[in-house]
């Protein structure tokens, strides 16, 4: 194969080069190490028009490669006022500012440090990038002793460094698992990005989906008729595979359940196969549900920008549930969507007192653990169906699948959704092999592309951060002939496809409900010969 030579393509990078990681820190003090940007290693700046759509200030044209980033005139004041405001409104930040002992337990737990050896990718140092400014401007010792107290001046160089390193963190929280105080670097990354955004400094791969979501209801900017077309297309595909025609309710008032899933699942492989799985399942159950075009996004790129933006985008879900008069909300397979739904939604946009406690219309299970937020994860819903024996499943249809399961960072470490998807997976697929212990569940490794990092232009960053996961996948491929990486996250489905192609060739990525849909025996179906991907079923031998 002729190797393309562009830094936004995986083929541009040689494995042997990426694997040669020098973890010896560069000499000198990190405070004096200048920041540099190279193609493949940074995200494109947010286009001013996207900030404009969201009504955010200081949008301007700039490039990481420029000497002058054209920061607003009073940029120091904006940053320091922002920092003060955040400190005053978050005990979490106050404690995390002052309790770190720099033991370095987090250091080599970070997929970005593991894959790059860049010392500023050690979570402790990523946090110190902000703590050093905090000490200088908010503590007496920092003001008086300066560098000796770990304090430094706020300069444009600091802003560049923040942009580089807060966009080399997927907010995956793996470091926090190993921190004796539970210091969560994601909090610093969120803070840093929030402060940068106030200067008009952000990544387009974050702000374009956010602007789209604000305007059209979803990250991809699909308009209502486009959503209908996409769903109809999936229904056509499903009919060709199963012989069953499914109805797809959209914006339907009077439905019992509002279904919200990441829009990526409606548009691009392999997410579309997962969406077909949802459609097949809901049809088979005769679920009284509806999609929404206004709230057509489960994901929330506001999470990767600022708490306010997260709240603005998330508000649509409850607003739409209220307008349509549904009883409760069911959420699809998505990682960061569930971080928002589980840990932020009720606090920001609740209380959802106009909804009812989710009750499965099939099994009658009352989901008490979701009685406040009134939103249920589809893996919980399906695992409950399976536990009650209410699904007719034929795992032999997935006989060609030898699966392993990638815990997505957010459902694993910000929710604890670990066994529900495994229970489902075991019921629909006979061959399931776990990756090594320290790469799954709460210690799961990174896809390398979450939190707005899934762009092509920072391909080197993604391949490096995905190295650990990729090698763990290659390990089960080599030891158990695993050929499918199952995951419950739309970003994973996109980014891990790249990671697997590069580090674990021959393994493809599938959603959980793709396998459910394939195994699901539907009333009135024709004999199945193909899976949702239109590949012949591998069973029968």
């Amino acid at each position: 194969m002729a190797a393309p030579r562009k830094p936004d393509q995986p083929e541009f990078y040689q494995r042997s080069v990426l694997e040669r990681i020098d973890c010896t820190p560069s000499v000198g003090s990190w405070m004096r190490t200048p920041v540099s940007f190279q193609a493949g290693g940074y995200l494109h700046p947010a286009k001013p028009k996207n900030l404009e759509i969201l009504g955010l200030p200081n949008g301007h044209a700039w490039s990481p490669l420029d000497e002058d980033w054209k920061l607003p005139a009073d940029w120091e004041r904006i940053v320091l006022d922002g920092l003060r405001e955040r400190l005053e409104s978050s005990r979490t930040l106050r404690i995390f500012m002052e309790t770190c002992v720099r033991c370095g337990a987090c250091a080599e737990k970070c997929p970005f440090y593991m894959g790059s050896g860049d010392p500023k990718n050690m979570p402790v140092l990523r946090a110190e990038l902000i703590r050093s400014i905090y000490r200088k401007y908010f503590t007496v010792t920092g003001r008086v002793l300066g560098e000796l107290a770990g304090a430094r001046e706020l300069t444009p160089e600091v802003i560049k460094e923040w942009f580089k390193y807060f966009y080399q963190c997927t907010e995956c929280r793996r470091c926090a698992v190993f921190c004796p105080y539970g210091i969560d670097t994601a909090e610093f990354t969120m803070l840093g990005r929030d402060l940068l955004l106030r200067l008009g400094i952000s990544a387009n791969w974050v702000m374009e989906p956010a602007a789209n979501c604000y305007r059209t209801g979803n990250h991809l900017g699909i308009q209502p008729q486009g959503i209908k077309d996409s769903l109809e297309f999936l229904a056509d595909e499903l009919e060709e595979v199963t012989g069953v025609r499914v109805e797809i309710p959209i914006n339907r008032k009077g439905a019992d359940i509002l279904f919200v899933t990441p829009s990526g699942d409606l548009m691009a492989d392999p997410g579309t196969y997962t969406a077909m799985g949802y459609l097949a399942l809901f049809h088979e159950l005769g679920l009284n549900y509806t999609f929404s075009t206004y709230a057509s996004e489960g994901g929330n790129f506001g999470l990767f920008a600022s708490p306010e933006l997260m709240k603005r985008l998330n508000a649509k879900i409850y607003a739409e549930a209220k307008r349509l008069g549904v009883k409760w909300i069911l959420g699809g397979e998505c990682g960061h969507m569930w971080r928002v739904v589980h840990q932020y939604m009720d606090t920001m946009n609740g209380p959802a007192d106009f909804l009812e406690v989710p009750i499965s219309p099939v099994t009658g299970t009352r989901f008490e653990h979701a009685r406040g937020t009134k939103m249920l994860h589809i893996a919980e819903f399906t695992a409950d169906l399976i536990a009650h024996g209410r699904l007719k499943l034929d795992p032999s249809r997935n006989a060609a699948v030898r699966a392993t399961f990638h815990d997505s960072c957010n459902p694993a470490r910000s929710m604890g959704l670990l066994e529900e998807p495994r229970a489902v997976l075991r019921s629909v697929c006979r061959e399931f092999h776990e990756m090594p212990e320290d790469t799954i569940r709460e210690r799961t490794l990174c896809c390398g592309g979450g939190a707005g990092l899934g762009a092509d232009e920072n391909m080197e960053v993604r391949l490096r951060a995905g190295m650990g996961r990729g090698k763990a996948v290659a390990y089960v491929r080599d030891t158990h002939a695993v050929n499918t990486l199952v995951t419950i996250c739309a970003i994973d489905r996109a980014t891990l496809t790249t990671v697997c192609d590069y580090w674990a060739e021959g393994v493809h990525v599938a959603g959980l409900h793709e396998l459910v849909g394939n195994a699901l025996v539907m009333k009135g179906e024709k004999p199945r010969t193909e899976n949702f991907r239109r590949e012949p079923l591998g069973g029968g031998e």
Partner: protein
């Protein structure tokens, strides 16, 4: 390497200098002390404890004044959800009691550090360059021996000596045969400090992140431990008379007129420095960890709403505005709308 030396010399040098000064000051003061020294010691001690307590409380109150904006527990085990899945109480607490269990595991047993196993063979080989559970071992031995030593010292302040302290004392004595008795912690505590210091200096990435604030407490505690050991095993300071002098003071009957041992003055002064420094430093991880929202909050997020008192009002895109933009296209696609089209 010259510049690497600069980083190290600034922070290690700064810390070392501070400890040397902290040792020199009391050594000089000791020469000036007269017969009324117990009074002076107690007066300073009262000030030091007051400074420690007030700063400590002020710091914690300052933390507490800020609201916990979001409930963001870090989950390290299976959530409580459906009946068929068994819930990990210690890894994913759902109730207050389970939070307590988690705190016990994470904070008392240092579980997060215990998780640091080297990356499994064959998976990410070459990626793992951690030290496995060594840091856990150092942290546990350091904190445990520090706790025992602090409790052991209570015998110098309390009369009668509490039973617990006496039992601890017996438990801590490793070598009954040797005279004088050597405490286990007398060996383990300085050793743990040296290991922690050695790790900081020898592990290049940890040296790279280390500040004076990281070396200073280690060096200070080494100095405190050393002077303590000198008193016990070399200078053979008469602690009974020290206790009598101090206890006598509390009943306004000073028993000692002799000048105090210089090692004792340094030892006590350094402890004072540590106490004053404590609430101004990273040592506040002690109360901090007990308030850390990731470790001490129940993961009952979807069950009970967490209130953020500063939940800001934000501008959102309302459905009506959305429909206004897309109404014609929605009608054309056969999607239901709230308002009929008003035409172009």
């Amino acid at each position: 390497m010259l510049r690497a030396g600069r980083h190290l010399s600034l922070h290690l040098g700064g810390a070392l200098g501070a400890v040397v000064v902290a040792c020199a000051v009391p050594a000089l003061i000791a020469r000036l002390l007269g017969a009324r020294w117990p009074l002076l010691v107690v007066a300073v001690a009262v000030l030091v404890v007051l400074a420690f307590a007030t700063t400590f409380v002020w710091k914690v109150l300052r933390w507490m004044r800020a609201p916990v904006a979001f409930r963001i527990p870090l989950t390290v085990g299976q959530q409580k959800s459906i009946a068929s899945v068994s819930h990990s109480r210690g890894g994913n607490p759902h109730s207050a009691g389970e939070v307590l269990l988690r705190v016990l595991l994470d904070i008392v047993l240092f579980r997060p550090l215990f998780r640091a196993t080297p990356t499994a063979p064959g998976t990410a080989r070459g990626l793992s360059h951690g030290m496995g559970r060594w840091l856990w071992f150092m942290a546990v031995t350091f904190h445990a021996s520090l706790l025992i030593i602090v409790l052991r010292h209570l015998r110098l302040f309390l009369s009668p000596v509490p039973a617990l302290v006496a039992v601890l004392e017996r438990f801590d004595v490793a070598t009954e045969m040797v005279l004088p008795k050597v405490h286990l912690t007398s060996v383990v505590f300085p050793l743990a400090l040296l290991l922690l210091l050695g790790r900081r200096l020898l592990l290049m990435r940890v040296r790279y992140i280390s500040l004076a604030a990281d070396y200073f407490p280690l060096l200070l505690m080494l100095a405190i431990a050393s002077t303590g050991l000198v008193m016990r095993h070399v200078a053979r300071t008469d602690v009974i008379s020290v206790k009598q002098a101090i206890m006598g003071l509390s009943t306004w009957a000073p028993a000692s007129t002799s000048r105090p041992d210089i090692w004792l003055v340094i030892h006590v002064f350094l402890v004072g420095v540590l106490l004053v420094y404590f609430p101004l430093s990273k040592l506040m991880h002690m109360p901090g960890v007990l308030l850390s929202p990731t470790l001490t909050m129940a993961n009952s997020n979807r069950e009970r709403r967490h209130i953020n008192p500063r939940n800001p009002d934000v501008v959102t895109m309302h459905y009506a505005d959305y429909e206004d933009v897309f109404r014609d296209r929605m009608i054309e696609a056969g999607l239901p709308v709230e308002k009929a089209s008003q035409g172009k």
